[in-house]
């Protein structure tokens, strides 16, 4: 199953557990090249659907625990492939190939008491999930419903005095969490930050070549 979409990445690699991640990368490449000939979108869609967990989020593989990163990859891929329409929440009837209400609730429940987002239930909040989960809500049209003030408060506790963001409050910053920290602030419409092409995990100007 996994080989067909990996062939366009030019590397035969079986048994990598991060299949939805690889799907997302493949879809992103196809999107940027505007060439889907290397990818069987139907087959890929069917695979992603199997990754929706009983609790609404998506795992990396069928049966795997629903996870913020996996959920982003699944939903972003479906969006890039054209299987989820824009702003689905504002439509009066929500019928979809995935269980949207269950997914929505899973996403909203990821905002913890400290205001940050967690990647899985009962795990600590981590800066990057403000993007991974936040952008899923953005893609579905539900981002406006989160507690933005509380999230902002949490993210600022992860901002380092040296610049950048850490994973958890009070820790040293790293490039990955800094990037996703900024992405999260862009979702929060922080002045001075570029708008995002969330499905690609880039700014609009980087993803489209124009603002």
């Amino acid at each position: 199953m996994e080989v067909f979409c990996l062939s366009i990445l030019g590397q035969r690699q079986t048994s990598d557990s991060r299949i939805v991640l690889l799907i997302d990368l493949s879809a992103a490449v196809c999107c940027l090249l505007e060439d889907w000939s290397g990818m069987d979108r139907e087959k890929v869609k069917e695979y992603i659907l199997k990754c929706q967990s009983y609790n609404g989020g998506f795992g990396m593989t069928p049966g795997a625990e629903a996870h913020g990163g996996g959920t982003f990859c699944a939903v972003a891929s479906l969006r890039l492939m054209g299987f989820i329409e824009d702003d689905i929440l504002s439509k009066s009837t929500v019928s979809s190939i995935i269980d949207i209400p269950l997914l929505l609730e899973w996403c909203f429940q990821r905002q913890a008491t400290d205001g940050g987002f967690q990647g899985r239930p009962n795990k600590p909040s981590d800066t990057c999930y403000a993007f991974w989960v936040g952008s899923v809500l953005k893609m579905l049209g539900g981002y406006k419903l989160i507690d933005g003030k509380a999230l902002r408060r949490f993210l600022l506790t992860c901002q380092s005095e040296y610049g950048g963001f850490s994973k958890f409050p009070g820790e040293l910053p790293d490039l990955y969490h800094s990037y996703y920290g900024y992405m999260a602030f862009s979702l929060l419409k922080e002045p001075g930050l570029n708008a995002l092409f969330v499905e690609l995990g880039l700014t609009k100007v980087a993803g489209l070549g124009r603002i």
Binding site: D16, S17, G63, E65, P121, N122, G142, L145
Partner: protein, 343 residues
Amino acid sequence: MMGSDTEEEGKAVPLRQRPEWSDVTPIPQDDGPNPVVPIAYKPEFEETMDYFRALYFNDERSPRALQLTHQAIAFNPGNYTVWHFRRLILETLNSDLREELDYIEQIAKINTKNYQIWHHRRWVAEKLGNDAMAKELQFTKKILSLDAKNYHAWSHRQWVLQTLGGWEDELDYCNQLLEEDIFNNSAWNQRYLVVTQCPNLGGLRAMRESEVKYTTKAILANPENESPWTYLRGLYKGDTNSWINDPEISSICLKVLTAKAYPVFALSILLNLLCHGYQGNQELRDAVGALNSSISGKPDSDLAKAVCSVLEHVDPMRANYWRWRKSNLPSAIIDISTGIESL
């Protein structure tokens, strides 16, 4: 790794000074003419990688190449090119992969979240097939004893079960983990996998009754624990009729609400039931009504709306969401007390 190559204590003889490497011309890293952010590598690292490149580009798959990959991995276990080459060497030399498992275990213990290591483990296990089953379950158990939520470990363990088998003790293992930490969502997820896929348990329907008992017990002990609530709903996946008609479900919601325990998940499950056509009963109406009065003082004859109102207050982080839910209730909820179809 040291042994006779050690000059002083803890310092190995550089490769360029070893006669057995004199035939190799090290290849420096080509960062191009104007490298951006060039890394200040330690001399030992640079030398190891220079010699690695030489062997790699020459495709030398020898015992000394294998040893060199060991050294390179020690410096940077994230270098997937080194891992890839190591696999080629192992194949060519027809190495004993059971020894490789021991090697992986040593470095995995200090790099529990390294993708390359787990991928390598998977590759070895695939090659060994069924013989590896017991060892892989043991290995993942060890890693999970260090971190019971390690996603890589769970992913590998699920792969082992689904590809090689070994389901017999898995439900027990889930029980054990949940006893240690009832909040461990990974363990709940694994439980779901076992209950739905274990070949000798009969499947979800057959297991539902006993699992509902187990889950409701966990809920009553910690109603603020999200995991058993979503698990409970999962037990009825694809069977909405049973979900809304099983008295156990409304009963557990009522128990939690009347016990004045953390009500959020009970209310959200109740809302879910109502949206799927559950009519509600008087006791639940009274319980929700009491909460609604004490919180907002605004009674609502519509049970679903009342539930949403309470949720706005008891779960303020998601107040916007509950408000949105209230104004987007399914148009065909029949309010039994008024007999009017609520729009």
